[in-house]
Structure formats: C-alpha cells, structure tokens
Symmetry: C2
Subunit: 170 residues, 2 copies
C-alpha cells in the first residue's frame, strides 16, 4: 500500500510518499513544492495542483493523508492553508482516492507513540521508521512523511472489510 | 462582458452571473450551491467544483470575481472559506479567466458608493442596478452579484490596453 502525505501551504507544500509492504515502510519520494509570491493565488494553486497530479501519476498512491490543522496562529495563515488543503482534497477526489485527515496529535501518536512529541522527535522517528537519513529536509517534507506513515499504520490496522451480506450467512 | 461573482464557503457558496453591454447591467443567473455536512470535505469541494464548471460552461464569463475576506471570525471559518476560495481560483485558472479579488469595502464602494454600506444597502443597490426584485435571495447570492457588478465596473473603467510599442510612436 502506498500513501501520499501532504503538509498543505500555498507558499510551501510538503509531500511525502511512503509504501508499506510486508510490514516494512519504504520512502519513495519526499520534498516541497514552492510557489512565488509574485504570482496570483490562482496561479500558485494551479501549480500546486499540477505538482500533485504528477506525484499521483508517478507513484499511484492508494491513499492520501492531509494533516488537519487546528492551531493556526491567525486567520490569514488559516486561509492560505485552507486553500492549499483544498487543492490536495480535490486532486484526491479526482482520482477517487480515500483521504485521511489526521490531527497533528494523531500523527505524532502514530510515529512517536506520543501525541505531544516535538518536531525533533517526529523527524528522528520518521528517519528511523524509514531507515533513511534526511539531511537538510524541510520540516514540511518531514511532516508530510509523518502523515503518510500514520495513514499507512491506520489503514493496516483496520480489519479487511467483509461484505455485510456475506457476513449475515455465517 | 460577463462576470461570474463568487461568495466562497464550503457549506454554502453563492454565485451571481452578470453581463455589462452598452453600459447596461443584466442579471443572467444567481443562486447558491449547498453541500452536505455528512460528506467529506473532498466530496464537498468536488461538488462545488462541478457546479462552478457548469456555470462557466453555461455562461462563458470573461472574468471571475472572488471576494477577498479579511475579517473572518475564527480560524475554522477562515479555513473553510479558504478551501472554497481555492476551488473558485482553480476553476478560473483552468479556464484562463482573469480573477478579480476585491475587498468587501471595494465591493460596497462599487455598488453603493460607500465602502461602509450595510448588507441591506448592498441588497437594495444590487436589485436597483440589475432592475430586478430578488425575493428570498440568499445573502450569499446577493454578495456574489455585488462582486460581479463591481468587477464589471472596474473592468469597464480601465482604458482599453494599448500596445506599448504602438504608443511610443504617438
């Protein structure tokens, strides 16, 4: 199973693509998409959309994880994050991909076992779980990877769905 | 010239389509798109996108006006508005339509001649300028019409662009 994690932002959008096969996590891709302040919001969002389309075409994720952000400092930031979040949700909808929207606490709980873990702990655990060293990786990319990992763990923990009608016969 | 005005919101998105020909405004369409809280944000945004695509296909607007909102009460509202705004901006970008992002004051100034006009004044002037009676129209639809009207006025007031090289010859 492959998950695309997204840390939304209009200026900088972090992404991380992780696979989980036979209980083993693997880093497939990670980075950030930056847009220029000299461009209009419409152009910037269209650029984010193009970048996400490319990532989906390249990695064929089974799920998308977009962190749900509650504690934005101010309404301007919240608006910018909401915009970028919408691009991620639309790209997922266009590909009929299920979307996980974990809270930051759920992500931290998933990768660190502690919902109150700090950024450094998250970065350490992401690298440990993926068996990689991320030198100079942007926080946004690390956060996106953490969301993808949490999403894969959650999906793997869910029992395989059983058709209700079939179940009634047993 | 035809403008599509949009009052963005994830739960309720207002729209208004207005034409300006020979100095005369005409109402072409107005209403709201409502999405259900029982659906995921991705589904809701995809529905808004589908509705906006239909409006563009039906009315072939030359410009899109999306009100720029500053005074959101809280970050949750700002996030929801930002999301819906992104859908409008993306639909505009996909059709290469120029986007006007007037502030609420600019919209009020354009339709009422007063940047501090209240909702009732805006509704009155929108109906007067369009020579229609909007009975039971949602505020969101009226606000979207006001944005469309302001956008048309602004576009009409701009001098027709003159090619700089040609100008240098005069």
């Amino acid at each position: 199973m492959i998950a695309l994690g997204i840390d939304p932002g209009t200026a900088t959008l972090g992404f991380g693509v992780v696979s989980l096969e036979s209980n083993r996590l693997r880093l497939l891709d990670a980075g950030v998409v930056r847009t220029r302040t000299s461009e209009t919001d419409a152009q910037r969002l269209a650029e984010l959309e193009t970048a996400l389309y490319s990532l989906v075409a390249q990695h064929h994720p089974d799920r998308v994880a977009v962190e749900r952000l509650f504690c934005q400092r101010n309404v301007q930031t919240a608006m910018a994050v909401g915009q970028a979040r919408a691009v991620a949700l639309l790209v997922a909808a266009h590909h009929a991909l299920p979307v996980d929207e974990p809270t930051p606490n759920e992500v931290k709980q998933a990768v660190c076992g502690n919902g109150a873990a700090d950024k450094q702990q998250v970065a350490t655990m992401v690298q440990r779980l993926l068996s990689v060293t991320l030198t100079g990786a942007a926080d946004d990319a690390t956060d996106a990877l953490a969301a993808a990992i949490g999403c894969l763990y959650r999906a793997a923990a869910q029992p395989a769905s059983v058709e209700p009608a079939a179940r009634a016969w047993r």
